[in-house]
Amino acid sequence: MRESDFNVGKFFAFLFVLILFLFMLSPLFEEGDGAKIDKNLSDIKNRVSYFHSLKSVKEIERILSDNNDFSKYREITDSAKTVIFGESKDLENGTANLVTSIVLDYRGFDTLGELIVLFISILGLTIILSTLSFAKFEEPSFLQITGVKFVTPFMILVGIYIFLHGHLSPGGGFPAGAIIATATLFSLIGCKFNYRVSNLKFIESNAGFFVILLATLGLYFTGSFFGNYLPTGIVGKLYSSSLILIIYSLVGLKVGAELSVGIKTLYNGEKDDDR
């Protein structure tokens, strides 16, 4: 008998899952409210942001220095002004796309984490696959070569457009990087365009380095990591919300380079390259 075959364990695992499943089903057979929100929570004030109407660190420091009374600031004041495209200036983060302002400003730290998830998985791919050798693909036909040469520049153009307009229209760095990587895949299969993995890695790690550097500069200017310190400009213009524009461009470059490295490594290993 081998040691790794632990069949009793499988049996108990099944039993355990069954017990958990029964636990999950148990509320169905008892009287209760079901999956409803409680009365106290149906009022939006009792959910988030009841305790805070202050959002900025500097603002709270000012109030703390004046007096320690927070009770005045309890209520959610309707401070939202009407926003007009092309006219409103110096808004909170100046993006026209709401999703982008959440992804890169309110929860920028999470996006940084997701960036690192992608980075580390491609790194793991190159670490594991670097010792293997690969069989070659067959030669591309004439039709493939012509089609790819026609399509690829447009795909790269679309990718660049999407990450440059991440703060104005849907999209952003991640899908733009995926589109750029698809373009490089086409050029790899179609016309044997043999790009070097080491150059792409250089772009990738430099882009990641600058993203973190820009985020860390926030410590100096605003007093908190990932704070927005560049002028936000006029809503709806291309050169608005400068920090988000710069970070999204870097993210697009980084994701594109990363996924291209992954595809190249899966295509013919790292062996063609020196390192």
């Binding site: 690969f134 999407i162 999209g171 899908p175 995926a178 589109i179 698809t182 895949l185 595809i263 899966l266």
Partner: protein
């Protein structure tokens, strides 16, 4: 009208997911998986989430399919 499009996409996506599970040939299974994510991206678009739709179309339909196909090339095409 939009309701019937919804129902059509739902049925199509369920069929493609069943095909991707049951297909003996792994290539067919991967292709139907890619069809599934394309349909999901249309659903996201109808539900007013264009950001998610673009990402799903670019990543789910294009890139993961390619990675799966590279994986199938390294191993065997038939499921046992």
């Amino acid at each position: 009208m939009i309701f019937w499009i919804f129902i059509f996409i739902f049925i199509l996506s369920i069929i493609s997911s069943i095909v991707s599970i049951t297909a003996k040939d792994l290539l067919y299974s991967v292709l139907s998986l890619s069809l599934l994510s394309l349909l999901t991206s249309i659903l996201f678009f109808i539900l007013n989430a264009p950001d998610v739709a673009i990402t799903e179309a670019a990543v789910g339909a294009a890139l993961t399919t390619v990675i799966f196909i590279f994986g199938i090339r390294r191993t065997e095409r038939e499921d046992k």
